[in-house]
Symmetry: C2
Subunit: 352 residues, 2 copies
């Protein structure tokens, strides 16, 4: 079989996976992005347009090249003593940037905080609207509400977001979804959102099945979205109809799987919710290696290795170790030279 | 919450995911691995111990540094005209290496070929036993046979491999599994293996549900295993008992999910089959973000980005483009100097 026999045109699904991974596939390689460090831990990634503004606050951000890794970094002033001081100083800068109207992301200011953590430890909190500017990893939950219809087969409930929502107003979305909030567990958040967004009663919510997670790295004019969504499936009775309780949803619609995937391809669907639908349709045998030429590539792009992009601390430790080893070798060589009585024209270097 | 409050000890599941990704996490970074190229396409990755032997066949392998990427590469002699000649020349070397007893992988010689492809085009075939020496990507199918038991809950059928199998003899494994063979589709392979390995009748096999794929990169003394397994789920009736038809299985056992996961942790379980079981238990709500501290890391390690490790051709094209752009810039500068009447002491470089 020659390559000309094969239709290697990218499929619509793979193109969509490229779209919601535009930063993973294209942005990250540009090399002009800098790790954002808090207490020596990498909690984010910052683009040049944001760095340019942060440069104006040298008392808050230390923007420099790391002496070991040689990489450019943005560090929150390490002199800040604790969680409260870090939060307060950062918040002041963000409110000022917001008032200047420089970043569209901050126009969606929420007065709702997001916990910034590293290795499961909270380091500070920032307004939810600001996380895309700092490329902070975001975690959310999504519920795939579905029905096994006697004639239409697998059908999926979608919600249409309210026109008044700060993000993606009016777009189609998964039946239920939301960001993780401080003090709530993952399943707890899913249950809370199921009640608030779709009025799903307790006797149905108990059937929630944890089904994995998807990870992707999207970039829009709002900033960076290195997102992980915890995914739950919920099979619903044929006669159940969700209705909204918190004003954040304007409509619900039940679609057969093939119509659902067409909806996902339209500009009316929230880009960052597409991975959850695609993952659902793969797990339930609707998208298969037989009908999707780029199946393995598609699955890989639903689970991009975000953890490998936030590893400044490990790289620093390796560089330091390497540096120390070099210095030790140098010291040994110098000592040998001295022992041998050779004159050397070099200062003896001490290891740290 | 301070970090000391959190038990950050790696879980048994994450340690297992590190084990079946030992090459992805540790081996690949060492930098002594070389791309294996056939017709300009990267089809594999080769370790130094293998390169040392291939060096003895300069008429078959061209081992050199790429002029553009500066990376060390192993190229199958580009003078070989076609699929047949490439297959024949490589086969001769492999049989000689086998007779020398240098590689344990070749002691499991199968007289069964594996198609080596790039961009869905077959470039050559080699004995199945040799693929780990060349780090060729392998594809297989696996069926999770399961039962919803009224008292034991989710139960999973496992097979114990025959003691006479070339690979992983006597180890516990998924109910049904096998490599893709030439001329068979993915679902077709699953159906064929279901009949041969577990005598699953047609009226049950029709319930097979495609459920995704897992990708990982394992290394053993046999060589490299950059594997992708297409995963199928098959719910079975309570009273069905699989029995083997092809002599490759010595036993089947039905285990409740919690006993199944314990079996997976033992040395009696085939390492490269663990990802399929873990993926199944995640998709069916048995391993959850609530009971697995390293849940997102675990999911990422079931879907490592193998496609990003076989990209020599793209990197070469980028290097060439970069090189050409540099030359063009140089040419423009030289022409400008000439126009300005400056004497230059440089040969004019032509772009390709």
């Amino acid at each position: 079989m020659s390559s000309s026999d094969v239709n290697v045109k990218l499929s619509r699904l793979l193109l969509l996976a490229h779209k919601f991974n535009n930063f993973y596939l294209n942005g990250f390689q540009k090399g002009d992005i800098r790790p954002f460090l808090v207490e020596g831990q990498q909690v984010g990634l910052i683009k040049p347009d944001v760095i340019k503004q942060l440069n104006k606050y040298p008392e808050v951000f230390c923007i420099r090249d790391c002496e070991y890794t040689k990489q450019g970094i943005v560090e929150l002033n390490p002199a800040f003593r604790d969680y409260s001081e870090r939060t307060e100083k950062l918040d002041k800068v963000l409110r000022e940037l917001r008032s200047k109207g420089l970043f569209s992301a901050l126009q969606g200011w929420r007065e709702e905080y997001y916990e910034v953590k590293a290795e499961h430890k909270s380091l500070l909190k920032m307004d939810r609207s600001a996380t895309p500017l700092f490329g902070v990893r975001k975690y959310g939950v999504d519920i795939n509400g579905y029905v096994r219809h006697p004639t239409h087969g697998l059908c999926i409930w979608l919600q249409q977001r309210s026109n008044t929502k700060e993000t993606w107003p009016g777009k189609w979305d998964n039946m239920v979804g939301g960001g993780l909030s401080v003090g709530y567990g993952i399943k707890e958040t899913a249950e809370k959102e199921a009640a608030e967004e779709a009025s799903i009663p307790g006797d149905l919510v108990k059937n929630l099945v944890s089904a994995g997670c998807v990870s992707f790295f999207f970039e829009s004019e709002q900033g960076l979205f290195p997102n992980t969504e915890y995914v739950f499936d919920l099979e619903l009775p044929l006669d159940f109809v969700p209705h909204n309780a918190d004003g954040e949803v304007q409509a619900f619609e039940l679609l057969p799987a093939n119509e659902c995937i067409e909806r996902v391809f339209t500009a009316d669907f929230k880009t960052t919710s597409c991975p959850v639908v695609i993952d659902f349709l793969i797990r339930h045998g609707f998208i298969t290696p037989e009908n999707e030429f780029w199946f393995t590539q598609l699955v890989e792009l639903l689970h991009v290795p975000l953890q490998s992009l936030y590893t400044y601390k490990q790289r620093l430790e390796e560089s330091r170790k390497h540096h120390q080893q070099q210095q030790q070798t140098e010291l040994i060589l110098i000592n040998k030279s001295l022992e041998n009585g050779h004159a050397i024209n070099k200062t003896i270097t001490k290891t740290n």
